[in-house]
Amino acid sequence: MSQQLVEQCQRGNAFAQKRLFDLYANRLFRVSLRYVRHEPEAEEVLMSGFLKVFRAINDFSYRDDNGLEAWLRRIVVNEALQHLRANRRLPVFQDDEIAGEQPDPAPLPDTGLDAERIYALICELPPGYRTVFNLFAIEGYTHREIAAQLHISENTSKSQLSKARALLQHWLITNGYERETRRIS
């Protein structure tokens, strides 16, 4: 069904465009909110992202639904970074920062964890940690690509990621640990 939807969007069918928007709007809004953190800005990023999607959809060749979603997410992420760059909201990183605190190699406690809580914790991360963590851990960018996007060194990208993981792990363990301690006691 998605293939037919894409074909109709390529022909400029307004109903198909509306249908595609309804299918992916909420999901992509969450993606943009993870980067810009403020809802009005996230809506602005989403709107510019969909404009770009419908302008460039003629150049897209459909393979499967995962490929379509990945293409949409890539466009929204680029729009979010562009928005941050335009508003000078990109975090300023320390160059060649050596990762001080290493994350605990022990597995994260998965009790009491839910997706909404993790999503909220990611959004609470500092801008630098959040951007690098989103790009590496969730979008799958390499450190080289992150360094090129954010105009930082690879070492800085690695250090920011380590700190993001450490902080996130700390919060998760703290939350999980608190829930675990309540159960025990």
Partner: protein, 238 residues
């Protein structure tokens, strides 16, 4: 080494995020319908602008091809040569000797018998010089007081200055006269030799062909003759 333990939390988090419902975050004021209402007018503008762009490009392409076609037709030389004739006649007219005011002056001037005519380079219309008239006066036998005046036309003496082998023709206004006058007769080389042979020989030995150099000392061998050396580069004369 650190990648493996780090991959676990990343993978875990990714899996958890994939389980998120397809709804806005709780407590969010996001409304997809409202956003579509804002997006749709901009989409229609994009489509119209794109259509106009295509139409403009098509019109520009048509105009360009039409102008190219017209320019080729305009500049193409015609087969009937009328274009060339127009050019030739224009050039001929430019080179045509203009009738100067001298003609009228010449006609008005009285031509005397002993006046030497002026030889002009340009062919121009001129009147024949009027024949000098000899006036004789002799006594009238009937009336001795009155004299009889008789005019006698003198014979025209051919003068080299005035003799014209051909009558002066007015300048032709046809295209044929525009071609330059040939000064020499074009003939085939065989005709030339035939003419030479047909021509009466003034001397008996005229048709003889000389053999040798005629110096009387035939060269014995070529060794005494220095070899002709032609330098590759000419030396400047100092």
């Amino acid at each position: 080494m650190n990648a493996k333990p780090d991959e676990y939390p990343d993978h875990h988090i990714r899996q958890l995020l994939d389980q998120l419902p397809d709804t806005p975050p709780p407590g969010s004021a996001f409304d997809a319908e409202r956003l579509w209402g804002q997006l749709q007018p901009q989409l229609s503008k994009t489509v119209v602008r794109r259509q106009f762009g295509i139409i403009w490009w098509a019109a520009a392409a048509c105009l360009g091809s039409l102008s190219l076609l017209l320019s080729r037709v305009w500049l193409m030389p015609r087969n009937d040569g009328s274009h060339v004739n127009i050019v030739r006649s224009a050039a001929y007219k430019a080179s045509e000797p203009k009738p100067t005011g001298n003609l009228s002056k010449i006609a008005d001037k009285p031509v005397l018998a002993n006046a030497t005519p002026v030889v002009r380079n340009q062919p121009e219309l001129r009147k024949k010089p009027s024949l000098p008239k000899l006036v004789t006066v002799h006594a009238n036998p009937d009336d001795p007081e009155k004299a009889v005046v008789q005019t006698l036309e003198l014979p025209v003496v051919a003068d080299s200055a005035t003799a014209v082998a051909e009558p002066i023709e007015p300048a032709r206004t046809t295209l044929v006269a525009a071609a330059p006058k040939r000064r020499f007769r074009v003939m085939h080389v065989n005709e030339l030799t035939a003419e030479e042979e047909a021509r009466p020989k003034l001397y008996r030995t005229e048709h003889f062909v000389r053999l040798g150099t005629g110096t009387g000392h035939p060269q014995a061998s070529t060794e005494s003759v220095p070899a002709l050396i032609i330098p590759f580069a000419s030396k400047p004369n100092h």
